[in-house]
Amino acid sequence: MQKYSGFGLLKHALSHHENWQRVWRNPTPRTHYDVIIIGGGGHGLATAYYLAKEHGITNVAVIEKGYLGGGNTARNTTIVRSNYLWDEAAHLYEHALKLWEGLSQDLNYNVMFSQRGVLNLGHTLQDMRDIQRRVNANRLNGIDGEVLDAKQVQEIVPIMDCSANRRYPVMGASWQPRGGVARHDAVAWGFARAADRLGVDLIQQCEVVDIQVEDGAATAVVTKQHGTIKAGRIGCVVAGNSSVLAQMAGFRLPLESHPLQALVSEPIKPVLDTVVMSNHVHGYISQADKGDLVIGAGIDGYNGYGQRGSYPTIEHTVQAIVELFPIFSRVRMNRQWGGIVDTCPDACPIISDTPVENLFFNCGWGTGGFKATPGSGHVFAATLAKGEAHELAKPFSMYRFYDGALIDEHGAAGVAH
Protein backbone atom coordinates (compact mmCIF):
# COMPACT_ATOMS: atom_id res chain seq x y z
CA MET A 1 0.00 0.00 0.00
CA GLN A 2 1.16 3.48 -0.75
CA LYS A 3 1.88 5.43 2.39
CA TYR A 4 0.31 8.87 2.42
CA SER A 5 2.70 11.71 3.21
CA GLY A 6 3.51 15.27 2.25
CA PHE A 7 6.38 13.98 0.16
CA GLY A 8 4.05 11.53 -1.63
CA LEU A 9 1.71 14.38 -2.49
CA LEU A 10 4.60 16.25 -4.05
CA LYS A 11 5.78 13.18 -5.94
CA HIS A 12 2.31 12.50 -7.36
CA ALA A 13 1.98 16.11 -8.39
CA LEU A 14 4.79 15.47 -10.89
CA SER A 15 2.60 12.88 -12.65
CA HIS A 16 -0.52 15.03 -12.40
CA HIS A 17 -2.01 12.82 -9.66
CA GLU A 18 -2.82 10.14 -12.20
CA ASN A 19 -0.98 7.26 -10.54
CA TRP A 20 -2.58 7.01 -7.13
CA GLN A 21 -3.27 3.46 -6.04
CA ARG A 22 -6.86 2.33 -5.45
CA VAL A 23 -7.64 2.92 -1.80
CA TRP A 24 -8.86 -0.66 -1.28
CA ARG A 25 -9.43 -3.82 -3.31
CA ASN A 26 -12.84 -4.92 -4.51
CA PRO A 27 -12.60 -8.68 -3.89
CA THR A 28 -15.02 -11.50 -4.70
CA PRO A 29 -15.96 -13.17 -1.44
CA ARG A 30 -14.37 -16.47 -0.43
CA THR A 31 -16.57 -19.33 0.70
CA HIS A 32 -15.34 -19.25 4.28
CA TYR A 33 -13.99 -16.67 6.70
CA ASP A 34 -12.79 -16.95 10.28
CA VAL A 35 -14.83 -13.88 11.12
CA ILE A 36 -17.57 -12.14 9.16
CA ILE A 37 -18.54 -8.62 10.17
CA ILE A 38 -22.00 -7.64 8.97
CA GLY A 39 -22.18 -3.87 8.39
CA GLY A 40 -19.53 -1.66 6.84
CA GLY A 41 -20.03 1.43 8.97
CA GLY A 42 -17.30 2.94 11.10
CA HIS A 43 -17.84 0.44 13.92
CA GLY A 44 -17.75 -2.62 11.65
CA LEU A 45 -14.68 -1.40 9.76
CA ALA A 46 -12.88 -0.51 12.99
CA THR A 47 -13.69 -3.98 14.33
CA ALA A 48 -12.16 -5.59 11.24
CA TYR A 49 -9.08 -3.39 11.46
CA TYR A 50 -8.36 -4.18 15.11
CA LEU A 51 -9.08 -7.89 14.55
CA ALA A 52 -6.29 -7.94 11.99
CA LYS A 53 -3.96 -5.54 13.72
CA GLU A 54 -4.24 -6.56 17.37
CA HIS A 55 -5.27 -10.19 17.12
CA GLY A 56 -3.65 -11.32 13.88
CA ILE A 57 -6.98 -12.55 12.52
CA THR A 58 -6.92 -11.57 8.86
CA ASN A 59 -9.26 -14.08 7.22
CA VAL A 60 -12.04 -11.56 7.77
CA ALA A 61 -14.79 -10.11 5.60
CA VAL A 62 -16.86 -6.99 6.13
CA ILE A 63 -20.19 -7.40 4.36
CA GLU A 64 -22.02 -4.18 3.55
CA LYS A 65 -25.35 -3.95 1.76
CA GLY A 66 -24.70 -0.46 0.40
CA TYR A 67 -21.42 1.40 0.33
CA LEU A 68 -18.87 1.72 3.13
CA GLY A 69 -19.88 4.33 5.67
CA GLY A 70 -23.21 5.02 3.96
CA GLY A 71 -25.22 4.35 7.11
CA ASN A 72 -25.18 6.49 10.24
CA THR A 73 -21.42 6.86 10.00
CA ALA A 74 -21.67 9.41 7.20
CA ARG A 75 -24.99 10.84 8.40
CA ASN A 76 -24.01 12.01 11.85
CA THR A 77 -22.97 15.38 13.23
CA THR A 78 -19.56 14.01 14.29
CA ILE A 79 -19.42 15.17 17.88
CA VAL A 80 -16.74 13.36 19.89
CA ARG A 81 -16.52 13.56 23.69
CA SER A 82 -16.23 11.22 26.66
CA ASN A 83 -17.93 13.08 29.53
CA TYR A 84 -20.43 10.38 30.46
CA LEU A 85 -21.70 10.05 34.02
CA TRP A 86 -21.31 6.40 35.00
CA ASP A 87 -17.95 4.66 35.31
CA GLU A 88 -18.78 1.92 32.79
CA ALA A 89 -19.76 4.34 30.03
CA ALA A 90 -17.08 6.90 30.89
CA HIS A 91 -14.35 4.26 30.63
CA LEU A 92 -15.63 3.02 27.29
CA TYR A 93 -15.94 6.47 25.69
CA GLU A 94 -12.65 7.64 27.17
CA HIS A 95 -10.96 4.54 25.74
CA ALA A 96 -12.31 5.67 22.37
CA LEU A 97 -11.22 9.27 22.86
CA LYS A 98 -7.66 8.15 23.60
CA LEU A 99 -7.65 6.15 20.37
CA TRP A 100 -9.03 9.16 18.46
CA GLU A 101 -6.04 11.19 19.66
CA GLY A 102 -3.62 8.99 17.72
CA LEU A 103 -5.94 7.76 14.99
CA SER A 104 -4.75 9.73 11.95
CA GLN A 105 -1.17 8.56 12.58
CA ASP A 106 -2.20 5.00 13.31
CA LEU A 107 -4.28 4.71 10.13
CA ASN A 108 -1.99 6.90 8.01
CA TYR A 109 -5.19 8.69 7.03
CA ASN A 110 -6.26 12.17 8.03
CA VAL A 111 -9.55 11.77 9.91
CA MET A 112 -9.46 15.50 10.65
CA PHE A 113 -9.99 14.96 14.35
CA SER A 114 -10.24 18.46 15.75
CA GLN A 115 -10.23 18.87 19.54
CA ARG A 116 -12.06 22.17 19.56
CA GLY A 117 -13.88 21.48 22.85
CA VAL A 118 -17.51 20.64 23.59
CA LEU A 119 -19.93 22.71 25.65
CA ASN A 120 -23.02 21.14 27.19
CA LEU A 121 -25.21 24.05 28.22
CA GLY A 122 -27.29 24.31 31.38
CA HIS A 123 -30.46 26.42 31.38
CA THR A 124 -31.96 25.65 34.79
CA LEU A 125 -30.69 25.21 38.33
CA GLN A 126 -31.27 21.48 37.99
CA ASP A 127 -29.27 21.41 34.75
CA MET A 128 -26.38 23.09 36.56
CA ARG A 129 -26.52 20.61 39.46
CA ASP A 130 -26.50 17.72 37.00
CA ILE A 131 -23.57 19.28 35.16
CA GLN A 132 -21.65 19.69 38.39
CA ARG A 133 -22.26 16.10 39.32
CA ARG A 134 -21.27 14.84 35.90
CA VAL A 135 -18.09 16.93 35.70
CA ASN A 136 -17.06 15.77 39.18
CA ALA A 137 -17.66 12.15 38.19
CA ASN A 138 -15.65 12.71 34.99
CA ARG A 139 -12.71 14.16 36.88
CA LEU A 140 -12.69 11.25 39.30
CA ASN A 141 -12.40 9.05 36.21
CA GLY A 142 -9.46 11.08 34.89
CA ILE A 143 -11.56 12.72 32.16
CA ASP A 144 -11.05 16.41 31.54
CA GLY A 145 -13.97 18.65 32.38
CA GLU A 146 -14.84 22.02 33.86
CA VAL A 147 -17.99 23.72 35.04
CA LEU A 148 -18.32 27.15 33.47
CA ASP A 149 -20.63 30.02 34.39
CA ALA A 150 -22.54 32.07 31.84
CA LYS A 151 -19.78 34.66 31.56
CA GLN A 152 -17.13 32.07 30.79
CA VAL A 153 -19.42 30.47 28.23
CA GLN A 154 -19.94 33.84 26.59
CA GLU A 155 -16.17 34.28 26.31
CA ILE A 156 -15.84 30.99 24.45
CA VAL A 157 -18.85 31.63 22.19
CA PRO A 158 -19.24 35.40 21.74
CA ILE A 159 -22.04 35.02 19.18
CA MET A 160 -24.35 33.07 21.49
CA ASP A 161 -27.11 34.92 23.30
CA CYS A 162 -26.21 34.40 26.95
CA SER A 163 -28.36 37.22 28.32
CA ALA A 164 -30.25 36.47 31.52
CA ASN A 165 -33.67 37.46 30.22
CA ARG A 166 -34.09 34.73 27.64
CA ARG A 167 -36.89 32.19 27.97
CA TYR A 168 -34.19 29.56 28.66
CA PRO A 169 -31.17 31.57 29.81
CA VAL A 170 -27.71 30.05 29.53
CA MET A 171 -26.69 29.62 33.17
CA GLY A 172 -23.45 27.81 32.48
CA ALA A 173 -22.08 24.71 30.87
CA SER A 174 -19.82 21.72 31.17
CA TRP A 175 -16.71 22.09 29.05
CA GLN A 176 -14.62 19.23 27.77
CA PRO A 177 -11.63 20.75 25.96
CA ARG A 178 -10.47 17.38 24.55
CA GLY A 179 -13.82 16.84 22.82
CA GLY A 180 -14.45 17.98 19.28
CA VAL A 181 -15.37 16.75 15.84
CA ALA A 182 -13.89 14.51 13.13
CA ARG A 183 -14.57 14.02 9.46
CA HIS A 184 -17.05 11.13 9.43
CA ASP A 185 -16.48 9.56 6.02
CA ALA A 186 -12.71 9.86 6.40
CA VAL A 187 -13.10 7.70 9.51
CA ALA A 188 -14.85 4.98 7.50
CA TRP A 189 -12.37 5.27 4.62
CA GLY A 190 -9.34 5.35 6.91
CA PHE A 191 -10.37 2.20 8.76
CA ALA A 192 -11.38 0.52 5.48
CA ARG A 193 -8.05 1.24 3.82
CA ALA A 194 -6.04 0.13 6.84
CA ALA A 195 -8.10 -3.08 7.23
CA ASP A 196 -7.81 -3.87 3.52
CA ARG A 197 -4.05 -3.46 3.75
CA LEU A 198 -3.97 -6.12 6.47
CA GLY A 199 -5.90 -8.56 4.27
CA VAL A 200 -9.52 -7.93 5.25
CA ASP A 201 -12.00 -8.39 2.37
CA LEU A 202 -14.43 -5.48 2.07
CA ILE A 203 -17.51 -6.73 0.25
CA GLN A 204 -19.83 -3.90 -0.76
CA GLN A 205 -23.26 -4.11 -2.41
CA CYS A 206 -23.89 -7.39 -0.62
CA GLU A 207 -26.92 -7.69 1.64
CA VAL A 208 -27.22 -10.30 4.37
CA VAL A 209 -30.74 -11.75 4.16
CA ASP A 210 -30.41 -14.66 6.58
CA ILE A 211 -28.15 -16.04 9.29
CA GLN A 212 -27.80 -19.83 9.32
CA VAL A 213 -28.04 -21.41 12.76
CA GLU A 214 -27.26 -25.10 13.37
CA ASP A 215 -27.64 -26.68 16.82
CA GLY A 216 -27.81 -23.25 18.43
CA ALA A 217 -24.68 -21.95 16.72
CA ALA A 218 -24.35 -19.52 13.81
CA THR A 219 -22.47 -21.05 10.91
CA ALA A 220 -22.96 -18.82 7.88
CA VAL A 221 -24.60 -15.76 6.43
CA VAL A 222 -26.85 -15.92 3.40
CA THR A 223 -26.44 -12.96 1.09
CA LYS A 224 -28.60 -11.71 -1.74
CA GLN A 225 -25.73 -11.16 -4.17
CA HIS A 226 -23.13 -13.82 -3.29
CA GLY A 227 -25.05 -16.74 -1.79
CA THR A 228 -23.99 -18.44 1.43
CA ILE A 229 -20.69 -17.53 3.07
CA LYS A 230 -19.50 -19.62 6.00
CA ALA A 231 -17.99 -18.11 9.11
CA GLY A 232 -16.31 -19.24 12.31
CA ARG A 233 -17.72 -16.25 14.16
CA ILE A 234 -20.11 -13.51 13.10
CA GLY A 235 -20.13 -9.96 14.42
CA CYS A 236 -23.22 -7.96 13.62
CA VAL A 237 -22.72 -4.17 13.54
CA VAL A 238 -25.71 -2.80 11.64
CA ALA A 239 -27.00 0.03 13.89
CA GLY A 240 -30.67 0.72 13.02
CA ASN A 241 -31.09 -2.67 11.35
CA SER A 242 -29.94 -4.71 14.36
CA SER A 243 -33.42 -5.96 15.25
CA VAL A 244 -33.91 -7.13 11.67
CA LEU A 245 -30.69 -9.17 11.79
CA ALA A 246 -31.48 -10.52 15.26
CA GLN A 247 -34.83 -11.71 13.95
CA MET A 248 -33.01 -13.67 11.23
CA ALA A 249 -31.16 -15.50 13.99
CA GLY A 250 -34.34 -16.03 15.98
CA PHE A 251 -34.18 -13.66 18.95
CA ARG A 252 -35.19 -10.13 19.91
CA LEU A 253 -33.19 -7.18 21.22
CA PRO A 254 -34.19 -4.40 23.61
CA LEU A 255 -34.00 -1.87 20.77
CA GLU A 256 -36.22 0.50 18.86
CA SER A 257 -35.19 2.02 15.53
CA HIS A 258 -35.95 5.69 15.09
CA PRO A 259 -35.16 8.27 12.42
CA LEU A 260 -32.68 10.92 13.55
CA GLN A 261 -32.03 13.87 11.30
CA ALA A 262 -29.43 16.53 10.74
CA LEU A 263 -29.08 19.51 8.45
CA VAL A 264 -26.32 21.75 7.19
CA SER A 265 -26.39 25.36 6.10
CA GLU A 266 -24.78 27.07 3.17
CA PRO A 267 -21.08 27.66 3.86
CA ILE A 268 -20.40 30.86 5.77
CA LYS A 269 -17.26 32.46 7.16
CA PRO A 270 -15.85 31.03 10.40
CA VAL A 271 -18.05 32.09 13.34
CA LEU A 272 -18.13 29.10 15.65
CA ASP A 273 -14.92 27.35 16.65
CA THR A 274 -16.30 24.91 19.18
CA VAL A 275 -19.23 22.53 19.64
CA VAL A 276 -22.36 23.71 21.46
CA MET A 277 -24.98 21.28 22.71
CA SER A 278 -28.06 21.81 24.80
CA ASN A 279 -30.13 19.05 26.35
CA HIS A 280 -32.76 21.40 27.60
CA VAL A 281 -33.79 23.24 24.45
CA HIS A 282 -32.51 20.29 22.42
CA GLY A 283 -30.11 21.27 19.71
CA TYR A 284 -26.46 20.91 18.86
CA ILE A 285 -24.31 22.80 16.46
CA SER A 286 -20.79 23.13 15.17
CA GLN A 287 -19.21 24.60 12.06
CA ALA A 288 -17.47 22.37 9.57
CA ASP A 289 -14.11 23.35 8.09
CA LYS A 290 -15.94 24.02 4.80
CA GLY A 291 -17.98 26.64 6.62
CA ASP A 292 -21.37 24.90 6.85
CA LEU A 293 -23.18 24.99 10.15
CA VAL A 294 -23.86 21.38 11.14
CA ILE A 295 -27.05 21.06 13.16
CA GLY A 296 -28.50 17.96 14.74
CA ALA A 297 -32.13 17.36 15.64
CA GLY A 298 -33.91 14.93 17.93
CA ILE A 299 -35.32 11.54 17.03
CA ASP A 300 -38.82 11.08 15.70
CA GLY A 301 -40.94 9.51 18.43
CA TYR A 302 -42.21 6.65 16.30
CA ASN A 303 -40.31 3.60 15.07
CA GLY A 304 -39.12 4.08 11.52
CA TYR A 305 -36.67 2.76 8.96
CA GLY A 306 -37.33 5.50 6.40
CA GLN A 307 -33.98 7.39 6.64
CA ARG A 308 -35.83 10.69 6.66
CA GLY A 309 -37.04 12.77 9.55
CA SER A 310 -40.31 14.49 10.25
CA TYR A 311 -40.86 18.17 9.68
CA PRO A 312 -42.06 19.11 13.21
CA THR A 313 -38.84 17.68 14.66
CA ILE A 314 -36.59 19.75 12.47
CA GLU A 315 -38.69 22.85 13.08
CA HIS A 316 -38.29 22.39 16.81
CA THR A 317 -34.51 22.07 16.48
CA VAL A 318 -34.13 25.13 14.33
CA GLN A 319 -36.21 27.11 16.82
CA ALA A 320 -33.80 26.13 19.58
CA ILE A 321 -30.76 27.05 17.49
CA VAL A 322 -32.15 30.45 16.54
CA GLU A 323 -33.06 31.14 20.16
CA LEU A 324 -29.44 30.48 21.17
CA PHE A 325 -27.92 32.11 18.08
CA PRO A 326 -30.17 34.94 16.81
CA ILE A 327 -27.33 35.74 14.38
CA PHE A 328 -28.19 32.54 12.45
CA SER A 329 -31.83 33.43 11.80
CA ARG A 330 -31.15 34.39 8.17
CA VAL A 331 -28.76 31.56 7.33
CA ARG A 332 -30.11 29.33 4.57
CA MET A 333 -30.11 25.58 5.01
CA ASN A 334 -28.61 23.52 2.24
CA ARG A 335 -29.31 19.87 2.92
CA GLN A 336 -31.26 17.74 5.38
CA TRP A 337 -31.20 13.96 5.85
CA GLY A 338 -31.96 11.20 8.31
CA GLY A 339 -30.30 8.10 9.69
CA ILE A 340 -31.84 5.19 11.55
CA VAL A 341 -30.62 4.98 15.11
CA ASP A 342 -30.99 1.94 17.35
CA THR A 343 -32.03 3.34 20.71
CA CYS A 344 -31.54 1.30 23.85
CA PRO A 345 -33.66 1.77 27.00
CA ASP A 346 -30.69 2.97 29.09
CA ALA A 347 -29.06 5.04 26.31
CA CYS A 348 -26.01 2.76 26.37
CA PRO A 349 -24.79 0.34 23.73
CA ILE A 350 -24.98 -3.44 23.60
CA ILE A 351 -21.65 -5.22 23.00
CA SER A 352 -22.53 -8.79 23.64
CA ASP A 353 -22.72 -12.47 23.00
CA THR A 354 -26.24 -13.59 22.12
CA PRO A 355 -28.52 -16.61 22.60
CA VAL A 356 -26.90 -17.95 19.40
CA GLU A 357 -23.38 -19.27 19.80
CA ASN A 358 -20.64 -17.66 17.67
CA LEU A 359 -22.93 -14.72 16.94
CA PHE A 360 -22.09 -11.40 18.59
CA PHE A 361 -23.83 -8.04 18.39
CA ASN A 362 -22.44 -4.54 18.68
CA CYS A 363 -25.42 -2.19 18.57
CA GLY A 364 -27.67 0.12 20.54
CA TRP A 365 -25.35 3.10 20.09
CA GLY A 366 -28.43 5.04 19.16
CA THR A 367 -27.90 8.74 18.70
CA GLY A 368 -24.33 8.87 19.99
CA GLY A 369 -22.02 6.16 18.70
CA PHE A 370 -19.79 8.04 16.28
CA LYS A 371 -17.62 9.27 19.13
CA ALA A 372 -17.05 5.67 20.17
CA THR A 373 -16.05 4.34 16.74
CA PRO A 374 -12.41 3.38 17.43
CA GLY A 375 -13.09 2.20 21.00
CA SER A 376 -16.13 0.21 19.97
CA GLY A 377 -14.19 -1.53 17.21
CA HIS A 378 -11.27 -2.14 19.54
CA VAL A 379 -13.25 -3.85 22.30
CA PHE A 380 -15.52 -5.69 19.87
CA ALA A 381 -12.52 -7.09 18.02
CA ALA A 382 -11.17 -8.45 21.30
CA THR A 383 -14.60 -9.89 22.09
CA LEU A 384 -14.78 -11.65 18.72
CA ALA A 385 -11.18 -12.86 18.86
CA LYS A 386 -11.49 -14.43 22.31
CA GLY A 387 -15.17 -15.38 22.21
CA GLU A 388 -15.77 -13.53 25.46
CA ALA A 389 -16.37 -9.91 26.30
CA HIS A 390 -13.45 -7.48 26.59
CA GLU A 391 -13.16 -6.07 30.12
CA LEU A 392 -14.59 -2.68 29.07
CA ALA A 393 -17.43 -4.36 27.15
CA LYS A 394 -18.57 -6.66 29.98
CA PRO A 395 -21.08 -4.24 31.53
CA PHE A 396 -22.69 -3.79 28.10
CA SER A 397 -24.04 -7.33 27.72
CA MET A 398 -27.59 -7.60 26.38
CA TYR A 399 -28.38 -9.68 29.46
CA ARG A 400 -28.26 -6.58 31.64
CA PHE A 401 -31.88 -6.14 30.57
CA TYR A 402 -32.69 -9.37 32.38
CA ASP A 403 -30.71 -8.84 35.59
CA GLY A 404 -31.46 -5.12 35.81
CA ALA A 405 -27.87 -3.79 35.81
CA LEU A 406 -28.75 -0.93 33.48
CA ILE A 407 -26.34 1.96 32.92
CA ASP A 408 -28.60 4.97 32.77
CA GLU A 409 -26.91 7.58 30.61
CA HIS A 410 -30.04 9.52 29.67
CA GLY A 411 -28.52 12.57 31.36
CA ALA A 412 -25.18 12.56 29.58
CA ALA A 413 -26.80 11.36 26.36
CA GLY A 414 -29.92 13.49 26.82
CA VAL A 415 -29.42 15.34 23.60
CA ALA A 416 -29.32 13.16 20.52
CA HIS A 417 -25.74 13.36 19.28
Binding site: S243, R252, L253, P254, Y302, F401
Partner: protein
Protein backbone atom coordinates in the same frame (compact mmCIF):
# COMPACT_ATOMS: atom_id res chain seq x y z
CA UNK B 1 -46.09 14.71 8.14
CA UNK B 2 -48.62 12.11 9.23
CA UNK B 3 -52.33 12.70 9.09
CA UNK B 4 -53.66 10.39 11.74
CA UNK B 5 -57.26 9.32 12.15
CA UNK B 6 -58.16 9.25 15.85
CA UNK B 7 -60.75 6.52 16.36
CA UNK B 8 -62.22 8.43 19.31
CA UNK B 9 -62.37 11.92 17.79
CA UNK B 10 -63.31 10.31 14.47
CA UNK B 11 -61.24 12.87 12.62
CA UNK B 12 -57.89 13.16 10.88
CA UNK B 13 -55.46 15.36 12.79
CA UNK B 14 -51.83 16.37 12.30
CA UNK B 15 -48.91 14.34 13.64
CA UNK B 16 -47.95 16.95 16.20
CA UNK B 17 -51.12 16.29 18.24
CA UNK B 18 -50.00 12.70 18.84
CA UNK B 19 -47.24 10.83 20.61
CA UNK B 20 -46.02 7.38 19.62
CA UNK B 21 -45.67 4.97 22.54
CA UNK B 22 -44.03 1.95 20.93
CA UNK B 23 -45.20 -1.59 20.30
CA UNK B 24 -48.87 -2.32 21.00
CA UNK B 25 -50.57 -5.34 22.59
CA UNK B 26 -47.86 -6.04 25.18
CA UNK B 27 -49.66 -7.80 27.99
CA UNK B 28 -48.41 -7.14 31.51
CA UNK B 29 -47.64 -10.48 33.18
CA UNK B 30 -50.57 -11.23 35.51
CA UNK B 31 -48.29 -12.13 38.42
CA UNK B 32 -45.09 -10.05 38.19
CA UNK B 33 -43.67 -11.56 41.38
CA UNK B 34 -43.77 -15.00 39.81
CA UNK B 35 -41.87 -13.92 36.68
CA UNK B 36 -38.30 -15.01 36.09
CA UNK B 37 -35.81 -12.18 35.48
CA UNK B 38 -35.89 -13.15 31.86
CA UNK B 39 -39.68 -12.97 31.55
CA UNK B 40 -39.82 -9.62 33.32
CA UNK B 41 -36.93 -8.22 31.26
CA UNK B 42 -38.63 -9.35 28.04
CA UNK B 43 -41.83 -7.63 29.10
CA UNK B 44 -40.12 -4.38 30.06
CA UNK B 45 -37.49 -3.96 27.39
CA UNK B 46 -37.45 -6.42 24.48
CA UNK B 47 -39.37 -5.36 21.38
CA UNK B 48 -40.20 -6.66 17.89
CA UNK B 49 -39.00 -3.47 16.17
CA UNK B 50 -39.82 -4.80 12.67
CA UNK B 51 -38.89 -3.25 9.36
CA UNK B 52 -42.40 -3.39 7.89
CA UNK B 53 -45.86 -3.68 9.43
CA UNK B 54 -46.00 -2.76 13.11
CA UNK B 55 -48.90 -2.58 15.57
CA UNK B 56 -48.17 0.38 17.78
CA UNK B 57 -49.66 2.34 20.62
CA UNK B 58 -50.27 6.07 20.19
CA UNK B 59 -51.85 8.74 22.35
CA UNK B 60 -53.83 11.72 21.11
CA UNK B 61 -51.86 13.89 23.52
CA UNK B 62 -53.03 17.34 22.39
CA UNK B 63 -56.55 16.15 21.57
CA UNK B 64 -58.83 13.76 23.41
CA UNK B 65 -55.82 12.35 25.31
CA UNK B 66 -56.95 8.80 24.69
CA UNK B 67 -54.69 5.89 23.79
CA UNK B 68 -55.37 3.92 20.61
CA UNK B 69 -53.51 1.64 18.19
CA UNK B 70 -52.13 2.06 14.69
CA UNK B 71 -50.97 -0.55 12.22
CA UNK B 72 -48.25 1.20 10.25
CA UNK B 73 -45.48 0.25 7.84
CA UNK B 74 -42.22 1.40 9.42
CA UNK B 75 -40.49 1.52 6.06
CA UNK B 76 -43.03 3.20 3.76
CA UNK B 77 -44.73 4.96 6.73
CA UNK B 78 -48.14 4.04 5.29
CA UNK B 79 -50.82 3.93 7.98
CA UNK B 80 -52.95 0.88 7.34
CA UNK B 81 -55.52 1.27 10.12
CA UNK B 82 -56.19 2.87 13.47
CA UNK B 83 -58.33 1.16 16.10
CA UNK B 84 -59.43 1.59 19.67
CA UNK B 85 -57.75 0.16 22.74
CA UNK B 86 -59.10 -3.30 23.40
CA UNK B 87 -59.86 -3.95 19.73
CA UNK B 88 -57.84 -6.33 17.62
CA UNK B 89 -56.13 -5.27 14.37
CA UNK B 90 -57.76 -6.16 11.05
CA UNK B 91 -54.41 -6.02 9.23
CA UNK B 92 -51.97 -8.79 10.12
CA UNK B 93 -48.22 -8.20 10.43
CA UNK B 94 -47.63 -11.80 9.43
CA UNK B 95 -47.06 -11.88 5.65
CA UNK B 96 -48.35 -15.47 5.42
CA UNK B 97 -51.85 -14.48 6.46
Amino acid sequence: MFHIYCPYCEEHREEEEFHAKGQAHIARPPAPDDCSDREWGEFLYFRDNPRGLHHELWVHAAGCRKFFNITRDTQTYEIRETYKIGDQPAVSTNPDQ
